[in-house]
Symmetry: C2
Subunit: 215 residues, 2 copies
DNA sequence: GCATATGTTTACTTCCAGATATACAAGGTG
DNA sequence: CACCTTGTATATCTGGAAGTAAACATATGC
């Protein structure tokens, strides 16, 4: 049976386009297992090209990774805007928009790159800016400095995790997603601000227990 | 000159103790960079021992890692208790206790192992149990199923991140730490439960130009 | 005191994945 | 058509880290 297998005529792309496509593929691949556990072959496969081709667009694996991170950071900056403005409603809108544009990139940045010693610097500045902005706001509400630092470190993390969980859950109630993320963040601030905390989670068996603690 | 360098008389330990000490050292080392980016030499150095010794206690790097994870999971199970009970106040107390016993182990489990494809299974069951328990409780408050799933996935994550941030911030107000974590979690539930959400973060109102960042 | 377990040192093999080089194939545009 | 670009195939070099082996040193408990 000499069945011609339709040869799949080798889709060729202009250089710039191929580069973009590789970056996108690399983002997906890296987002799964991070830098160290992702081989160039994984990426090549994901992009549908040979490993050799990668070297015609990027000097090294590190170079490629950095390009991926830069690309995503740029997207973030574009959406979040000047980080000097503080950790505001707009920041969360921006994060949400960026996450919807590139879920894989979002995960890559905050779940992998942020913990890779060789690359965290690029993200750490971003996070540090947000944390500092949050601290300025939160410290006005929270007298205890330790608690203020706790909350300002936690608030951005909760925002990010809330967004990721929201993506995972299938983006329910998209219209009010940002508002709900904000509310979750508010929970953190409230938790730090209360001087006398007496909060219980709803009891699983008895429905009588009302959720109290949130003004 | 023949300066004797105090020879450091090679502390020897009985097998079981050395094994424990290696596990502790490996926990610290792995917690920094995860499985792939941590070499056996890193661990040996951390333990103050030669690489060869590691092989007298563990068959392979993978075997050692698994032992580290198992050890920490056991600690978790001991503190959190039967996960079938639901995601309750006691769960958070248990998580907090486990995190204080071994901060490195806590980070390792939830920030690294949970994202390593070869090892996540061990943790995924733990997380799945908690998430399922949380879902049962939360779905009673939240009519929309998508939102309920969002909240029940997010709630444990927020608890964990709140605890880690609390460790990072120097464990402020330890007496009420658990209550504050609960309160942060409550913020998530509230966010999912509200049908009409209209939440804003506090405005970074032009307060006296205190422009000192976060330490 | 002595045997044994504990630990060191050194050298080696193996394997993987990053990186490089070269020869060849074919699309499309001047 | 000629030519350059894009892509493939293959082979090889390389370095680092996992894993193995053997000879040696000495604390320590019996």
């Amino acid at each position: 049976m000499a069945g011609q297998v339709k040869a799949e005529p080798v889709r060729r792309l202009p250089r710039a386009e191929r580069r973009e496509q590789i970056l996108a593929a690399a983002t997906e691949a890296f987002a799964r297992n991070g830098f160290a556990s992702t081989s160039l072959d994984d990426i090549a496969t994901e992009a549908g090209v040979t490993r050799v081709i990668l070297y015609r667009h990027f000097d090294s694996k590190t170079d490629l990774y950095q390009a991926v991170l830069d690309r995503m950071c740029a997207r973030l900056d574009a959406n979040v805007g000047e980080p000097v403005g503080g950790f505001t409603d707009a920041s969360i809108d921006g994060l949400l928009a960026a996450a919807m544009e590139s879920p894989a990139g979002f995960r890559l940045l905050f779940q992998h790159a942020a913990r890779e010693t060789d690359f965290k610097a690029r993200i750490e500045t971003f996070r540090a800016d947000i944390t500092a902005a949050a601290y300025l706001q939160i410290s006005a509400f929270v007298p205890d400095d330790g608690l203020a630092r706790w909350a300002s470190q936690l608030a951005p993390v909760v925002a990010i995790e809330a967004i990721i969980a929201w993506l995972d859950a299938g983006q329910p109630d998209a219209a009010q997603a940002a508002a709900r993320v904000r509310q979750a963040v508010m929970g953190v601030i409230t938790a730090a601000a209360s001087s006398e905390v007496d909060c219980s989670l709803p009891n699983p068996s008895i429905q009588g227990g009302t959720a109290h603690g949130n003004p």
